[in-house]
């Protein structure tokens, strides 16, 4: 890998379909380190980029649900049986049925908290600076621009950016920009 100051080459496309075609073609030519940017989620992109299908967020949501539910049950049990036992007419200290409602609410709360943190981290957020923001026209990616970035650490990137530009040119992009590091 070359020690260059470039982050990669960014090409923009006019629509989701031409973007998807370019991505599929680039992948088939061995370009593995691609980043794709679009103003809305595009069906089929996950398959084209071969992003693994396993859903980490779902596991974190489950973990949060279990933590919130079991944790709240434990807290209520500890408080009623260990920390401050109160004998009310010989009833059992642990009133399990009455412990359920608050625990249920904490299931929702912690599932959402864990899930949201997992969503942000899995998407690489928060990250206020990114090299791709250096390209002026990239600001259109959040309204009507579709972009493909071939990262400089791509194994098939090579040292020759000219040939890469030629390759990208074959997919009729609207523009091609170098992304500074």
């Amino acid at each position: 890998m070359s020690e260059s100051s470039s982050y990669g080459v960014l090409a923009s496309f006019g629509g989701a379909d031409s973007l998807l075609r370019a991505v599929t073609e680039l992948r088939s030519r061995g370009h593995g380190r691609l980043e794709v940017y679009s103003p809305f989620p595009i069906d089929g992109l996950q398959e084209a980029l071969e992003i693994p299908g396993h859903n980490a967020i779902a596991r974190w949501v489950l973990a949060g649900a279990l933590f919130g539910g079991i944790g709240t049950l434990f807290l209520q049990w500890y408080s009623s049986v260990i920390a401050y036992p109160l004998d009310v007419g010989g009833r059992p200290y642990a009133s399990w049925p009455a412990f359920v409602p608050a625990s249920l609410e904490m299931v929702f709360l912690f599932a959402a908290l864990f899930g949201t943190v997992a969503m942000l981290l899995a998407g690489g957020l928060p990250l206020l600076y990114h090299a791709v923001f250096n390209v002026e026209r990239f600001s259109r990616s959040s309204s009507d621009g579709f972009f493909v970035l071939i990262r400089a650490d791509d194994p098939a990137y090579g040292n020759d950016e000219e040939s890469l530009r030629d390759l990208l040119g074959k997919f009729n992009p609207l523009s091609i920009d170098d992304v500074a590091q």
Binding site: P41, L45, I57, S142
Partner: protein, 444 residues
């Protein structure tokens, strides 16, 4: 379904929506509404300060009616929130794509309504500065919450619901905040939206995670809505009071919550549609669908009201029957019959399609339902308390000046927050609309 208006929707129309937040010079109508809302918010602050100085005695509470406006307002506001969550979550799971145009402001409505609702139980505590005693935290007083009380369950429910709503609202707003960041022209706004957007880039990986997260959150939100309002209902039905001690209360409260929530979504939708010229986004079809939803919830309400009367007579309990009869013809009978008229009778006009297409009719009925649902909570709270088991503990309830100012102030605070939202945040889920436009199917 009518798709007549959908041809007006394009990527440019969607992008123009972001300019509503980026426009530097708000219109005169916004300023007038904002000043009124601000004045009412100041009125709320004054009422709360006076409450803190003098105590809850400034309200009309007295034996036997110890719960009144604060609880009524609380239930009313949190119920309004339910409608927003239901629209954004349940309709998401049902793949009812038409929701994409209205879910953002419906969710915002939820967040603000829950914020306003949360104030009332705290103010009602008597010594609100000890509100942290509700939390189970380690302290030297050996102080623990009463886990077996529905009041604690309700506290857990509000806390969970508030935080959940904020997360759901904010997470699905990230791509739209990025749009505002990229389209903002002034440096200050670029930084403001840049920080809020957390560096969203619309990367394939980010979209994938966001969509997975949306699905999971929606799946959690639906049971959450039902559970939260069930907890609110349990505040009442855990008591042994006739008129409150009823197993139908949780589902009855959930239906009532959705009823008033949809009414508020409809009303705000009409207001936004005309003040921002959003006819291409919030179409006649949205208003029609909301009217149909109101019709459906009103039928559930009718069933619940009928079932309450039936159960009272079927039980043969003299006090239960007396409570129902006091509602029919007692001192507060006008409250009962007004709420029946607003929630059950007036809505039936929506059976006619032509009525569902008239904005004035839609806005009038939605307002009637909001008033009716507030009166219904007044009926439930006050008419159950003012006639207890013993005639010696009977008494009337009259609101005071401060009861009224607090209610008006809460409306002002909600409007204040909502007006700030339409001014500074993306009022429509632009990324979802773009996806719909791309798929070109079932456009809203």
């Amino acid at each position: 379904m009518s798709r007549t208006a959908s041809s007006d929707l394009s990527l440019e129309t969607i992008n123009d929506l972001s300019d509503i937040a980026l426009d530097h010079r708000p219109r005169r109508g916004w300023w007038i509404a904002f000043l009124i809302a601000f004045a009412l918010t100041v009125l709320l602050v004054i009422s709360v300060v006076w409450l803190l100085i003098k105590g809850v005695g400034i309200w009309g509470l007295n034996a036997p009616v110890m719960w009144a406006f604060a609880i009524i307002n609380y239930v009313w506001w949190i119920a309004i929130g339910m409608g927003g969550t239901f629209i954004s979550a349940a309709l998401y799971l049902l793949r009812a794509d038409w929701r994409a145009a209205i879910n953002r402001y419906a969710e915002s409505m939820t967040v603000f309504a829950v914020c306003v609702a949360g104030l009332f139980p705290i103010l009602h505590l008597g010594r609100p500065w000890f509100v942290y005693w509700l939390f189970p935290y380690p302290d030297k007083m050996d102080l623990w919450p009463q886990w077996r009380s529905s009041l604690f369950w309700d506290f857990a429910a509000i806390l969970a619901y508030l935080i959940f709503s904020v997360l759901f609202w904010y997470g699905s707003m990230l791509p739209d905040l990025a749009t505002l960041r990229d389209r903002a022209r002034s440096r200050g706004r670029q930084i403001f939206y840049g920080l809020l957007a957390l560096g969203w880039r619309g990367e394939a990986r980010q979209w994938l995670q966001l969509e997975r997260w949306m699905l999971l959150m929606a799946a959690l939100a639906v049971p959450l809505v039902f559970s939260v309002h069930s907890m609110v209902a349990l505040d009442f039905s855990e008591a042994l009071l006739p008129g409150w001690h009823s197993t139908i209360f949780p589902p009855f409260f959930v239906a009532g919550a959705l009823h008033s929530g949809f009414a508020m979504v409809l009303l705000l939708g009409i207001v936004m549609r005309y003040s921002f010229g959003m006819e291409a986004v919030i179409t006649a079809r949205h208003l029609d669908n909301l009217a149909r939803l109101l019709l459906a919830t009103s039928l559930v309400m009718t069933y619940s009201y009928t079932s309450e009367i039936f159960t009272a007579y079927y039980s043969g309990e003299a006090t239960d029957i007396a409570t129902v009869e006091f509602r029919f013809s007692g001192a507060y009978a006008w409250v009962y019959w007004s709420s029946i008229f607003c929630n059950v009778v007036a809505v039936q006009i929506f059976w006619w399609r032509s009525m569902r297409q008239r904005t004035l009719v839609l806005a009038t009925i939605a307002s009637l339902i909001l008033v009716g649902m507030w009166l219904e909570r007044l009926m439930l709270v006050v008419t159950s308390l003012y006639r207890d088991f013993l005639p010696s503990s009977w008494g009337m309830y009259y609101p005071t000046f401060w009861d009224i100012t607090t209610l008006l102030g809460s409306l002002g605070l909600f409007a204040f927050l909502f007006l700030l939202f339409v001014r500074f945040l993306p009022i429509v889920s632009m990324h979802e609309l773009r996806k719909l436009l791309h798929q070109g199917e079932a456009l809203p």
